[in-house]
Symmetry: D3
Subunit: 242 residues, 6 copies
């Protein structure tokens, strides 16, 4: 967590924290007096690591792979991230042990997620999160869940993509898109002509279908690299666009 | 993000929100100039329902079950929720079509989640969320995810319980507890003596084991009532304790 | 096994037990003489525990939780069970370590399974068993399988709910009800509007749908408490209403 | 149901049927008077088909395959079944549309289940039922569940094999045998040297391992022929050896 | 591998083997010179067992079951295999520890796969392979994959049955047949009237449906006997009808 | 098989193709005369599309995406493929609708599969095929199965990776590598420190672990792009290195 976050939490009124997260106990009501049921301090102290010495996002991955000197292009790219985002996403730090791997990852990622497409950037992020939810990938759910919240301006949509995309109140087009991406994730062997037809009927072009498949495929790759390496999302993502 | 959104969020520094959620495109860097890659306005306008007329949490459930007049005890309980939380949790409104069902649900819930136990309230909420993640229950993930964030004072812990409890940096005791609860959720037929022994070795008493089972069991019930009725969490939960 | 059962078994004609449970061997026929192929005595002696010292249903659970002194209401309830059923169901004994937990369990159970509903008591028991079959819960399959046999007067129906509810020759209404309950058990995240619509088309009211969900949910809880604690059904259930 | 069964049921004291299968409702106790909560008559009348015109076991299968004239050996075999069991098992009637298929099935079955083996006949039937439970095969669960009850003289053991073999209080040898058979059923691709070694350590010979595999394999075949054809077990099995 | 195979491989032009199996590396192109990227010799030497002392198909199974003296009929059958095929299939050697088991296996197999049927021999082999693919059975995929290649004269069809039958460009009749066989393999409990109706609509008779079920059932048995015993296919199959 | 079938087969060269793929029928032996059991010609005529007008590998994918004019680098790369392999792999043709996507795919692929690594090229191809088997991806199984056969000079190894990698007689190092890759494919959420430790104990470096994850991840992407688009492997792969 960055400094700002820590300050913000520290600044919370104690009363708010003492508020029970769930309805008060029935007996308290009966007794006409509210018992201090949810003493957060106590509850917290029962946590094995109440104040973790290790930040959640350091190290970025569980493999010991020291960074190499990056190419000028990649150095500039990292600087740009720092300037615009305030941080370098940990997935980039993870790849920084090998400049060629970093470059090919960045090229692929940027083409897919930020390049021209019939899918909006938000739609691509929605696919990213729905796929990552199926694979339960911590890194991608946090980083791309934040992206969905930011692009949509709708924090709930981000949460719904993380939890169960089927509950989102989205239109038929986007539902068809996510159904395809998640089926492709869970049972790729069962994807057939009828599935592609369903996308066409929902208004997607041939190129759109490719892009849905490519984004879903990409996150099936990234989810696995992240899970294999215990990649940790920058903690700053958690609080973005809430 | 469109202008309207920016205004709504007006309190936040504009610069932060304008920052793209993901690294800028590589080609922009090469060109020495940053292209407006992530035009949020466009992205957003592609969303089927940019400004949903229907709030996410109304109606509370997808069944048409008009509320009845509640008993004095339940009326007082709802009032207490309103006073302390600022709202009545939708799960209570959902049960309000039948006072007896509401009372037995509240009695069971409060005994389990707020009554005496060798498990801290936070631990019980952690079980609630890990189980609800296995079942992908929107209502319970939102409401109890907020509870984990509040009780722990650690927003990340709530997210981890929602996404994949295995990534949380918790101690062996809590890990054993969650492993048991999730196995009991996913493959109850495979739970045997060895699983109970593992809990005992992690320091849990006979009564603690009952409580872990009872909380995991309870959310396997609640998750299904919520999914069967499309229960929607009060939107206020989403922003709590971030 | 209770006394009555033992007597009944002891009273069986030896000839019946000697009858092979399966067709006689072909070679015996060829040889014109039936070999004593299925000597049950021998077969039985090969069983590791032919005469188990430990009755199947004692102790009621695998956790050491001594009973407490019950409230007058619960004491009366146990006595009523003894008087009417001839025994106290082990699930009640299991909860008897804590009077409040026992009371809230009993209240919830009785409201759901015996209270007013558009579902007949038999239908609620059919849901109980179909759900418990999905979860392979020994306690609930035995106790509620007996209930289906008794309520229906049709021993086969009980067996079919235990084994595979799809083979039962039931009408469309009940089939829709069980399909919903079992889908809700196996894949709660996939239950959506279309599933509720299917129930409405099968003639179920809004309240009926709640009740189907609530009963299915309840047994998803009970199955897990039973599996987590190795709860054993009273042996007397096995022979009831055959 | 055969005549004998009907008579037995008819002979049951009416009072027994009126007994509720579950504990009486709490409110009845409170009120000091037991409500006629569990009126079986009512409950039964709510069943779509209270008195099915179609017996459960006719026709034997859902394919229209008229029987052919059997060979003398098969004719004698059917007569022997009739004489010894009182009926011809429906699986044999199912195969009777083709004498060669019937003969090869009978030869294989009798060799496996009744021929020489280091496994007792009861153990082979236990495998049959545990495998059929995994595959949820109605025919085999009923017919071979009865066989386990008969061979063991222990009705509970039959029920446990049907419901969840893991709850049976059997020795390590039989547990290892069933674990192997069920893994082989559910994930044959994962069976490797370590699994065979576990059987050897439990005391099984090379030939015993073959026999466990062969019996498990056979029921994986029979379960599927039965499910594919909706094969119905002779109703008489349901009441045997209870 | 037999001698002939080794010679054939040895006879391959070295150039062909040196050809990389995948596109050459991009940088090689850029450099204007092709690096010897895919030195098979090197790659091969990295394999733990480059020249395995143990042939893949010996012993035929991982159980130590010495062969017995076969009956004249079985002796003649083995000789016929040797004369016509050039080898005795290992599945027959596996059963040769017991003449009765061998005979009943052979009788069942030959009736099913080579006897009269409305299904062509190729169709039966297609079922065999699609089922074996679901169960990932090495022996059956190799031996019956070769049969599909031979009967069809279409090597690709054999590969497709092994890999994912859904990609094969077959007609509706055969697709319906394989869909039924694979569903019966993966979820036998879900096969119902609608599945049988689908086969009837695809033109299959009642007897054809039996045969589809019987062949699918048979390979569900054989797959498990093979996996349980680590049965190895004769290496000669691998090169047949490519 | 009918008579006509037998005759038609007779026309094929007596040599290899006439050999029956399975043992001759028992009855033929009994009759003292061997029927020409496996006349492939006949069998073939029963196939719905015996001589498909459409080649299996055209079009390369089921999306209508016309190729664009490629960059000089990509044009040269395609020419090099044609020169060295004799064909351009269909996956490259599939990407040829967009030069940037093609370039980023090729860069990533070549770095991963042909660049420096502690894993041999064969090992990377083994991962490719084991992962593709889990996902049942036709394109990748065919193309990379051929690569395993070529790199290893062991056709059986290729088949084993396609069918069930657990049957391959490989060393502990490669088995650990494939176990990790397949677990990462099937249950990425369950990969944790213990899994990485198992690789370290098998002798893999930190960088090797990354490479295993990266290759497994890459094929989880490619498998899905291929399945989503019905990508067809060049038919020439099927016969390579047999």
């Amino acid at each position: 967590m960055g400094k700002a976050d820590k300050l913000k939490i520290a600044g919370k009124p104690a009363g708010l924290k003492a508020a029970p997260p769930a309805p008060p106990p029935l007996r308290a009501i009966k007794g006409g007096k509210t018992a201090p049921a949810a003493k957060p301090g106590t509850a917290k102290s029962a946590l094995a690591k109440p104040a973790p010495a290790q930040p959640d996002d350091a190290p970025a991955i569980a493999l010991n792979l020291p960074p190499v000197k990056l190419s000028p292009a990649m150095t500039a790219y990292f600087k740009k991230c720092q300037d615009k985002l305030g941080f370098v996403p940990n997935v980039l730090l993870a790849y920084a042990f090998d400049n060629a791997k970093l470059e090919s990852f960045v090229a692929l990622y940027n083409d897919l997620m930020l390049g021209d497409s019939g899918l909006s950037k938000l739609e691509r992020e929605m696919i990213a999160v729905a796929v990552s939810s199926q694979n339960r990938c911590y890194y991608c759910l946090v980083a791309h869940g934040a992206a969905v919240r930011q692009y949509s301006g709708n924090p709930l949509l981000g949460e719904q993509m993380v939890m169960n995309y089927r509950v989102a109140r989205i239109g038929k087009r986007q539902r068809a898109m996510l159904d395809f991406a998640v089926k492709l994730t869970a049972q790729p062997w069962n994807v057939e002509d009828a599935d592609r037809e369903r996308l066409r009927r929902a208004g997607f072009s041939e190129r759109d279908i490719w892009d849905i498949a490519a984004v879903a495929g990409f996150f099936n790759m990234s989810n696995r690299v992240a899970s294999a390496t215990d990649m940790r999302p920058n903690t700053v993502y958690h609080g973005q666009a809430r």
